[in-house]
């Protein structure tokens, strides 16, 4: 830097000075200084400074034989083309020239960069260089040009179609070089996703053969591209499906887990078409590779685990021998630990439940509170799912409540077990009663109250009356449970008259309309003379629940099986990405996660169904919410699910009124 410059710099405004200096450097007569300055410009760009004002000066350096410098100038162009669209035209000449350079690296670089300069005017000049590079003798250039077609399509569909680039791209699928084939398919898939109506990538038997051949020669990424295209192909016969599977199975041995997962996707999409023994044999081959995915990098494991959850639901016996693989590791991140528990509870069977419960018990002593909570719930889930292990689950839960102060979680889990196995009440109820003072979570409190009503618990009066006094401050779930239990105890034993009266007298002050209506309903029912019908109605036990493990609705499950390895399959949604999946999405838009208990809700008596709300259904709904919470588009799906459930609840209510209590419905109508 000359002294003169330094003096200039001293007087200039600092910021202006920097730009000025860069500008001076860019037009320096020394090549080295120009190059260094370009680097400085890029450096400034990287840290987020706006150097777009230097556009014309940087552009002056585009004509160079130094590839490194060329790359830097191109990089600058890509970043700031939008701010100076008119000036970009000045670069066109160099681009076109570069696509004829003797060096294939330069040709490829030019065509790659042209596609990345997202300026309308650029499009007009792309036709000739793109045509030329698509037919280049060097595969490196061709593979770059193939991708550029997708870029052009994204910029301007019309020009891309009119100039026949799509056909040219389709021809490249026949190329002799595997990487060109892979990139051509990748570009076609990209175009297909944005515009499915063009049908650019239709896998037919001819293309199928080509793809299966290229599969063994491609790089790992090329294989994924091809496998993804294969997964969308519908085999026309069991022979064809068998052929595809046969060719894809070797890929399960690839060291790239993503290739493995994509192969699994192809195999699963074809496996149902296989006949007889082959079906079982092929499925069996998936188990070990799936288990191995659990030894990969944590993020990849996460994708694998979410996918395994889908696969296991479709093929429950596939992974049963591998349940130990999913035992959590001490140093797993929390999201993996939670996901592994999800798989473990689904793999629980009568032969391994003992071992699984012992393992889950250990988790109950871990450090992380969220993990421990989930483990407690899992113990309940396994206890309910496997009837013979219920008492062991209860033992473990009671042990945990004493040693680790997990009152809320344990009480909820115990409540669930009671729903499934009321015969354990003698063991469970004392624990729940003892824990009462420690309960904070509304669901746990509601559980406690429900248990009081359902099973004979002594000394309930004072506790319930406390609740009645602060009725409006309670959580709605707790209110529901409270109303239900007071009525039930009253009908059973005749006690609690005062509390009941208090409840009825203050009904107008109840804020929640559902709870208010519920109280009104009971009031009416209780004022009837026919007490035998009444008892039958109120005292019927809830239908026994079979499991508290949420399951996918069949349609959603089928959809997700086809989506393995994609974002949808990780988020359990149908809504990520629009494009080609659009048709499917509209078809399955109203899909909701189905929980087995839903069906049972229909059979419940009116009061029971109301109380079941603080129970499983809410529990599971929360979980469904969680499943969907990560997607911003899904709430409609969610809502429809909950409204559907409410509707289901209310239908039997009115039915019961009509059949069992005759004139009551008229009375009710009067009330409103």
């Amino acid at each position: 830097m000359s002294i003169e410059k330094r003096i200039k710099k001293m007087f200039a405004q600092p910021k202006k000075g920097e730009t000025y200096e860069l500008r001076a450097g860019l037009v320096s007569q020394y090549a080295n200084e120009r190059k260094d300055t370009i680097k400085q410009v890029i450096s400034a760009m990287t840290v987020g400074k706006d150097v777009s004002s230097l556009f014309p000066d940087v552009l002056k350096n585009i004509a160079t034989h130094d590839i490194k410098q060329k790359k830097l100038v191109y990089l600058y162009l890509m970043n700031y083309a939008k701010t100076n669209p008119e000036l970009c035209i000045l670069a066109v000449n160099t681009f076109v020239q570069d696509t004829q350079d003797p060096n294939p690296l330069v040709r490829a670089l030019a065509i790659r960069t042209m596609g990345c300069i997202r300026v309308d005017k650029m499009v007009d000049y792309m036709e000739i260089p793109l045509t030329k590079t698509l037919n280049d003798e060097n595969p490196y250039v061709r593979k770059t040009a193939a991708i550029c077609v997708a870029k052009l399509f994204d910029l301007n569909r019309q020009i891309c179609v009119e100039n026949g680039f799509l056909e040219k791209l389709q021809n490249l699928v026949e190329d002799s070089n595997p990487m060109v084939v892979a990139n051509a398919i990748s570009a076609l898939a990209e175009i297909h996703e944005t515009e499915p109506t063009l049908n650019v990538l239709t896998v037919d038997s001819v293309l199928l053969k080509k793809l299966l051949l290229a599969l063994n020669e491609c790089t790992e990424w090329g294989r994924i591209t091809i496998l993804t295209a294969l997964a969308d192909f519908e085999a026309s016969s069991s022979d064809e499906a068998s052929h595809i599977v046969e060719r894809v199975v070797p890929q399960l041995q690839h060291s790239n887990p993503s290739v493995v997962l994509s192969s699994i996707k192809v195999i699963i999409s074809n496996v149902e078409k296989l006949q007889g023994e082959e079906h079982e044999v092929v499925l069996k081959k998936l188990a070990a590779p799936l288990a191995s995915l659990v030894s990969t990098a944590p993020e990849v494991q996460y994708v694998a685990l979410r996918n395994i959850r889908i696969i296991v639901e479709k093929y429950p016996h596939l992974m049963t021998n591998y349940f130990k693989v999913f035992f959590v590791r001490y140093n797993d991140p929390l999201y993996l630990k939670l996901e592994k528990i999800e798989i473990i509870v689904r793999l629980a069977s009568s032969s391994n439940s003992n071992m699984i419960l012992n393992e889950l018990k250990e988790y109950g002593y871990e450090f992380d509170v969220e993990f421990v909570k989930r483990a407690v719930r899992a113990i309940g889930q396994v206890g309910i799912k496997i009837s013979k292990s219920a008492s062991k689950a209860v033992d473990i839960l009671i042990g945990l409540i004493n040693e680790r102060e997990l009152y809320n979680e344990v009480v909820i889990s115990l409540r669930d077990i009671l729903r499934a196995y009321p015969e354990h009440s003698a063991m469970i109820t004392p624990t729940i009663v003892q824990s009462f003072d420690k309960l904070v979570d509304p669901e746990a409190i509601a559980s406690f109250i429900w248990v009081m009503g359902e099973f004979e618990v002594v000394n309930y009066e004072s506790r319930l009356s406390e609740f009645v006094d602060q009725f409006n401050d309670l959580d709605i779930g707790v209110q529901n449970a409270l109303v239900y239990s007071i009525v039930k105890i009253n009908v059973k034993t005749g006690a609690l008259k005062d509390l009941l009266a208090k409840l009825f007298n203050n009904v107008d002050k109840v804020e929640n309309i559902e709870v208010r209506d519920q109280i009104y309903l009971y009031w009416r029912i209780l004022s009837l003379d026919d007490s035998s019908e009444l008892k039958k109605l109120v005292l019927t036990r809830l239908v026994k629940i079979e499991t508290t493990i949420p399951q996918f609705q069949p349609e959603l499950l089928e959809f997700l099986l086809r989506e393995l390895s994609t974002l949808n399959s990780v988020l359990f949604t149908t809504t990520v990405g629009k494009g080609s999946k659009q048709t499917q999405i509209t078809k399955i838009k109203d899909v909701k996660l189905n929980v087995i208990n839903d069906e049972n809700l229909l059979d419940f008596d009116d009061d029971d169904s109301e109380t079941s709300k603080p129970g499983e259904s809410v529990n599971i709904l929360d979980e469904l919410n969680d499943l969907f919470s990560s997607s911003s588009i899904s709430p409609p799906v969610n809502n429809s699910s909950s409204t559907a459930q409410i509707a289901q609840n209310s239908t039997p209510v009115s039915n019961n009124k009509n059949t069992s209590t005759g004139g009551v419905s008229q009375d009710l109508l009067d009330l409103f």
Binding site: K39, S43, R112, R247, S262, A297, E299, Y335, S565
Partner: protein, 427 residues
Amino acid sequence: MASAIHFCDIKGKSLLSRDYKGDVPSNAIEHFPFILVEADEDPAQASPVVVYNDVNYCYITHSNLYLVALTKNNSNVAQVFLFLHKLVQVLTDYFKELEEESIRDNFVVIYELLDEMMDFGTPQITETKMLKEYITQRSYQLEKKMKKAQQLGPPSAITNAVSWRNEGIVYKKNEAFLDVIESVNMLINPQGKVLRSEILGKIQVKSHLSGMPDLRLGLNDKLTNNAKGVEMEDVKFHQCVRLSKFESEKIITFIPPDGEFELMSYRLSTPLKPLIWVDCKINRHDNSRIEILCKVKAQIKKKSTANNVEILIPIPEDADSPKFRYSHGSMKWVPEKSVIVWKLKQFQGGKEYSMAAQLGLPSVSMEENAHEVKRPVQVKFQIPYFTTSGIQVRYLRINEPKLQYQSYPWVRYITQSGDDYTIRLQD
């Protein structure tokens, strides 16, 4: 398929980025720090895939960095994560260490690599060895070559079926080194019963071979021969191995990349006996001290020796002033990790050592500590010349059709602890 890739610092601020598709708003990354904060506040909801405002954030961590891929469509997430990990690997190969500093220092090369490794969201060339052929850190090298050869093209191998090896490699002495490395993961209960065990094995190859050699590897496993041998549950191969040949004929054949690479990996979950067994009893005298009695036994062949054995015993966070009694090795107290570490440089098979430690506890302990959280004992070790699975390399045939040279394969075996060799403590 990623739309953009960002390197972010520990707070989530973008250091360097490359936008491949332009369909994600450029300010989307500004939300990333909030994602990190949320993950920190509510760890139960945290996951490496986050959706916000229709943009999907897929991220991995590496030293003090986050690598974030942004996408708009229903991408293949597994591929995205694999690519990010690959990117870390390539950049580590280039700069020895990938961290904030090395990104700032090498931004030009990183831009070049990002350009070469992914195009419009599709991964392209990700083999370090190939990339190094035409993307170098020092630009003058490139200029020099330019003058010499007038043009420096992409290595022809890049797009070939054998995309991992260039032609014309020459060594004076043709050698191939095979390392069979088995990592053992084990979870043992306080009574010495193994609850879960697995072997993660791999064969690491260092190839110093000329030309285009074709290699054939013979192992004593059940997958490759039907005789009595080791039964591997799942084998994964480097992309150079001909998978269809393996599937049909159970033969491992390949043209190796030059230099070091992982040829294959395998997994076994056969029941194992503990290799190093630690019997550890912790007696806690509330509000005064804890006593630790620890016995360790090497349950391996007398001829074998375990090296660099480390036994990490958890202690309460507020424990202090340790006193140790031991006959072998060395003891260390690592308060920041709340463990004491017992190191044994050499540990011969069949030997048994013991150690006693005493630590003081503060007289007033916090309420929370009343329910001591259980952490397991961790063990680290290496056992050379030994594989737990019993796998052996039978032969490695090297055939270079044109050069027909003599070559020497070398094989080494080692068993080591995996990242999860743990022993649970008594209640």
